[in-house]
Symmetry: C2
Amino acid sequence: MPLIEPRTLKGFRDYLPEAMIPRERLIDTARKVYRSYGFVPIDTPALEYEEVLTGKGGAESDKQMYRFEDHGGRRVALRFDLTVPLARFVAQYSNELGLPFKRYHIASVWRGENTQRGRYREFMQCDFDTIGSESLTSDIETALVIHDLFRALGLEATVHVNNRRLLNGLLARLELGDRSAAVLRALDKLDKVGPEKVAEEMQAQAGASPAQAREILALAAVRGTNDEMLRALEPLVAGSELGGDGLAKLAELLAAVRAVGVAEGKFQLDVSIARGLDYYTGTVFETTLDALPSIGSVCSGGRYDDLAQLYTKERLPGIGASLGLDRLLAAMEELGLVEKRRTGASTLLVHFDAARRNDYLRLAARLRAAGVGVEFYPEPKKLANQFKYADRRGFRFALVAGENEWANGRCQVKDLAAGTSVELAMFDARGEAHPELVAKLA
Amino acid sequence: MPLIEPRTLKGFRDYLPEAMIPRERLIDTARKVYRSYGFVPIDTPALEYEEVLTGKGGAESDKQMYRFEDHGGRRVALRFDLTVPLARFVAQYSNELGLPFKRYHIASVWRGENTQRGRYREFMQCDFDTIGSESLTSDIETALVIHDLFRALGLEATVHVNNRRLLNGLLARLELGDRSAAVLRALDKLDKVGPEKVAEEMQAQAGASPAQAREILALAAVRGTNDEMLRALEPLVAGSELGGDGLAKLAELLAAVRAVGVAEGKFQLDVSIARGLDYYTGTVFETTLDALPSIGSVCSGGRYDDLAQLYTKERLPGIGASLGLDRLLAAMEELGLVEKRRTGASTLLVHFDAARRNDYLRLAARLRAAGVGVEFYPEPKKLANQFKYADRRGFRFALVAGENEWANGRCQVKDLAAGTSVELAMFDARGEAHPELVAKLA
């Protein structure tokens, strides 16, 4: 029978251990932070009824969705984000869940989009949301979660904060309230094409007058420290209740994170953040890495008025954000922050003396019981081979015990990074791993 | 616009927090144990080329596979297990991975099968394998991993061990070596239909004589302690090198786990284990929960000679096993071992005095920094509402601080399970969470 060529589906990727180990670490950290705020995990199926998923999506996401017929002739589709399944989920279980409902969801989504620039058709989302609370406290907490996430990951990051009400208030005053989607689309291009072109687009697409476009761009151009900006924005939103409320909420949020003790500068008021989607109605966030802002936002989100209007008449406001796992990993790789380890354990126990196999197994078991990760090489191959293996995998330590060592109950501990070696006792009087050995390998 | 009915696709399920929290705990524990033996994580795409997945599957899995055409007109399918993707993966990356390659893979798979008896069309597999080692050491380690898994989960379990070579040796001696698949299929029904029917099936399907069927059933009927069974099996495999080797390997494995200090009885030689698949060639495992053996094996696996023969000429022997997450969760629920918690944090901080919001936020932040999970209720609602919420979610503690408490820097700590209450200082002299408060809530 001819061999089948082993290959990955076009547009998809495999995760080898050296990519998967840091990815698992990111996910673990995110879950720990989410849980520490009382968020709980949920999961939903990868496949849903097509009508459930297409209900919300724009033309773009509909086109990218993987859709087909299942064995029972049902039209089904692979989820393309975790927001639509969340909306379906809270509408379906609203009686059981209780509000506020704080959930996180870490799972894969699929989009059959073009795969230029390192984008894949399967990627993982890492979302958290608070549903059923309109309180600004939830906005503040969302901001703090993002801050804690990056602190826990050991990354210096800046959370950029804006409030949609600033712009929406201004647009309402200019009687352009119903054009906000077109204005947002234009504003989203400000960094790329500059104010002239954006003004042109606002006139062409949103029907703004040149003076109105100037006024909108003046709002988007405000820069400075948080306090300077709050002062500069005040006259620009004057006369709009909505805009004034947005500004007051921003001021309150910034005062709260300061009161909690977050270092000044970790949160930056940034009126240029529009977050393309029409869906956001209040606070919006983007997060950049201080060492690599050019990679774009690695954690974004905001407040919405009504999550599940397609599925229920119950109004469900909320706020949430999504950690961009893949982008963050790419950034960490670019910054040299990803350790090239290919092992889940710190220590390789060398299989030196075949007759001692069961003793090695016992030593490994005692070390694991004491919390030390130990891989025991399965065969008594040449030492050089086993050390080559240790090097390739990136073990920190190698333990070697031959007949002499077993006779006096000690082993050689080789620090593979430092190139040093020390002899230590293997077991204590009770037959457990010796505390000194454990301490050395921990 | 009419509402879309929010519903889960037929044959699929949602995980609400009370189901997802224990599931995450199981997965965390499995990963910790796998890593402690040096296993590393990998991930592969949910979608693969259809020809890659159908290459191996039998008619049954082919029929159950979700298959369709992607946006580029490629025939694709959702993976139905993690073994076929592993085979493709090691064939594709054999140069980079190095052998032995010890990987774990925890991910969803999809099968469009009938959904009677609580089976779903999407479920999670939790596999670990050691590829590229024929050493019995890897078999022993696989057994120890399974043992450690259940110990880490706090579950009493028995690992049933067999070696395919016992039966294959006997069949070779009976000149039925080429009928092993049919014999295995018949033997797999022993528990359900009894020896008479199995003997009939062996004669009808495998072409065994009545005497041969009796001899095969005699092997499958051996019972007793491990030592008794090893002795009883010796004459039954006499005259077969293969059978003798299988028996020697079983004896060696059982001696090794004893030498490591595993309690007698945790491993049980069990010749009735056949593990339907033809694919296994040596040691095979099944694991039952001592408190609920009737639910069947919750962790199964074994040794195979050649993992990836469809994709590469390189012979890749290995051994591995798969933790049955969903079955295990169902068992734990039935045994009342699943806590009905719906929160990721231990403590609800009551939002009592609206004017103190930023102080509450600071207290919550300091407690989190000290490792205590704290949810802060987002709105200053009536106390009764907030306590009802705490009860519903299953928080262990509620913290209450009103104006009096803030004035003297103390808070009420209510133990919601015990119904007791104690007043403690909130902060220490440096403004961190007070160690006594942290200790109480930890």
